[in-house]
């Protein structure tokens, strides 16, 4: 073994992720489906086990010691999230199931209270279904309208079109920070600036961005930011909705139940303060603690190191795939994250996925929960290789060999 001169020691990093040692069909796993979910470092797995072995109890409810330990762990995780995205207050961090629930929460509370007949909500042509359907449900209920910012062929938003969509009826803007299907990182600062000039609040769907771009919600100035723990090397079933305190305070509750109340009589219920007002029932306590551990882990690697290694991988992957004549990349924005979405001239994405799987390579094939976007490109589906900081250039070489295999099978 030669010693690496690269300050980013990916071999060392890979040691932290036990699943990366797994063999698939007898071949080393090449995990390139990180946009769907990321793998978990041992530190996160240990945090889950440790919580159940030493701290498990319900939070905010008991005077006994264990309950206090669990509450400290849970609230400690909230503080870690706050620091990670640089929110001003702890109470602006609401634990939810994931991005999907975060967006639904905003649509069902802020949306129902503030959006009426004839009002308009702006999204983009590259949204995940979870940032389309909650707004459609609201529009249906309220008689409001959904407006869509179009994109160019590279997968970049047309900001001029956005400006002309902003109207006196616009009540909300909800935009994906980094597209899961194209990789495009959107100019969210400008989007927010233009909306705020008209006093329109903005939600960012950070499901993808949070694992690849350092996030500072105060600097961004967004009103809401939603993300999922499982795409940030944390457990499934837990995510975060950040909301500005003044907005959250004014919003009606989402679900009713325990924990979200201050006092209940059959005549009247007083709601708890934020964040508890939005955390009805027993939350995913262990998951939240696991997410806190994931944040610690990511911080120990360093978001900047992660971003720069992924940038290098993306450049290498883009170059290698561009060399293959039968491959067409979908999503070629100038500013993009580590996602390589492509179609092949003679092979359907689903067949590509099966052949790559036989080589141990995990990619996602399909519409990536973005059917309107697939329609925009006139393809039913794409193959998507999404990279994380534990991926290597050798793995991209393996992907390229896998694609050669597809070409070989389909040219018989």
């Amino acid at each position: 073994m030669t010693t690496s001169v690269n300050p980013f020691d990916v071999a060392r990093i890979r040691e932290d992720f036990p699943i990366l040692k797994k063999l698939i069909h007898g071949k080393p796993l090449v995990y390139l489906d990180n946009a769907a979910t990321t793998q978990k470092p041992q530190a996160v797995i240990d945090a889950l086990v440790n919580y159940y072995v030493t701290e498990n109890s319900n939070v905010h409810r008991g005077v006994h010691t264990l309950s206090q330990l669990a509450t400290d762990a849970y609230e400690g995780a909230r503080e870690k999230v706050r620091q990670f995205i640089n929110a001003e207050h702890d109470k602006e961090i609401i634990f939810v199931r994931g991005t999907t629930e975060g967006i639904n929460l905003v649509a069902q509370t802020y949306g129902r209270a503030n959006i009426g007949p004839g009002d308009e909500i702006i999204i983009t042509a590259m949204e995940h279904h979870s940032n389309i359907v909650p707004w459609q449900i609201l529009c249906e209920e309220k008689g409001a309208r959904l407006k869509v910012i179009p994109i160019n062929d590279d997968g970049e938003l047309l900001l001029d079109e956005y400006e002309s969509l902003l109207s006196p009826r616009t009540r909300f803007v909800s935009v994906v920070h980094q597209s899961n299907a194209l990789g495009t990182i959107n100019p969210v600062e400008r989007i927010i600036e233009l909306a705020h000039a008209r006093d329109i609040p903005v939600l960012l769907d950070g499901a993808q961005a949070v694992a690849h771009v350092p996030i500072d919600v105060q600097k961004l100035g967004c009103d809401f930011y939603a993300f999922s723990g499982h795409k940030l090397y944390g457990p499934t079933g837990v995510g975060v909705l950040y909301g500005r305190a003044d907005l959250l305070d004014a919003m009606p509750p989402y679900q009713g139940g325990g924990e979200m109340i201050r006092s209940v009589t059959f005549e009247k219920t007083l709601y708890n303060v934020i964040p508890n007002k939005f955390e009805a029932g027993t939350q995913n306590i262990a998951g939240s603690v696991g997410l806190g551990a994931a944040i610690d882990y990511v911080n120990s690697v360093g978001m900047d190191n992660i971003a720069s290694w992924e940038k290098e991988l993306l450049a290498y992957g883009t170059e290698r795939l561009s060399e293959i004549e039968l491959v067409q990349l979908i999503g070629t924005a100038r500013h993009k994250g580590s996602i390589l979405s492509f179609v092949m001239e003679n092979a359907h994405p689903h067949d590509v996925g099966t052949i790559l799987d036989a080589e141990g390579i995990a990619v996602r094939t399909g519409h990536h929960c973005a059917q309107p976007l697939m329609d925009r490109y006139g393809v039913p589906a794409t193959v998507r290789a999404s990279l994380a900081f534990y991926n290597t250039k050798e793995e991209i070489d393996t992907l390229v060999r896998g694609i050669d295999r597809v070409i070989e099978v389909f040219s018989r």
């Binding site: 359907h348 994405p349 689903h350 052949i355």
Partner: protein
């Protein structure tokens, strides 16, 4: 032969490249749409049924090699058969691709035997049966599009 070669046999690829009866059937008297939400495969199946016999059958749509080849082979195998016989063929085909140890009647299946490799790829069974579920829906005169879910 590797599992992969067994799956992507030459006959399958040939059907994928040049699907049989791949057109709209203008005088169809039954029709159904099928959709596989997992991968976006979409198919429209047209039937002309006369006295319980499938006098003509054709399909349109887009999908992976397996769903296209399966649809193409379907049209060949059920054309001219009674509805009851078509059902029998589907049952035999279903057993072939889901159960490697099934006792199947190869005479009944003809070219469809070439899809047996699917049984080693559980995630692809839905692709292979999409056209068949759509055929059933067309026979039963169902209006709603069928899905593999």
């Amino acid at each position: 032969m590797s599992n992969l070669h067994e799956l992507y046999q030459e006959i399958l690829l040939e059907h994928n490249n040049k699907p049989r009866n791949f057109r709209k059937l203008e005088d169809a008297n039954r029709k159904a749409d099928g959709y596989n939400p997992l991968c976006g495969d979409q198919i429209t199946l047209y039937l002309k049924v006369e006295d319980d016999v499938i006098a003509d059958v054709a399909f349109q749509g887009h999908g992976c090699a397996i769903s296209r080849a399966s649809a193409s082979m379907l049209t060949q195998s059920v054309k001219g058969e009674t509805l009851a016989k078509a059902e029998e063929i589907f049952d035999g085909f279903h057993a072939l691709i889901t159960d490697p140890d099934a006792d199947v009647d190869y005479d009944l299946l003809g070219d469809l035997e070439m899809l047996s490799g699917v049984s080693a790829f559980p995630t692809r069974i839905k692709c292979a049966v999409l056209a068949w579920h759509t055929l059933n829906a067309a026979i039963e005169g169902k209006e709603d599009s069928v899905t593999t879910e």
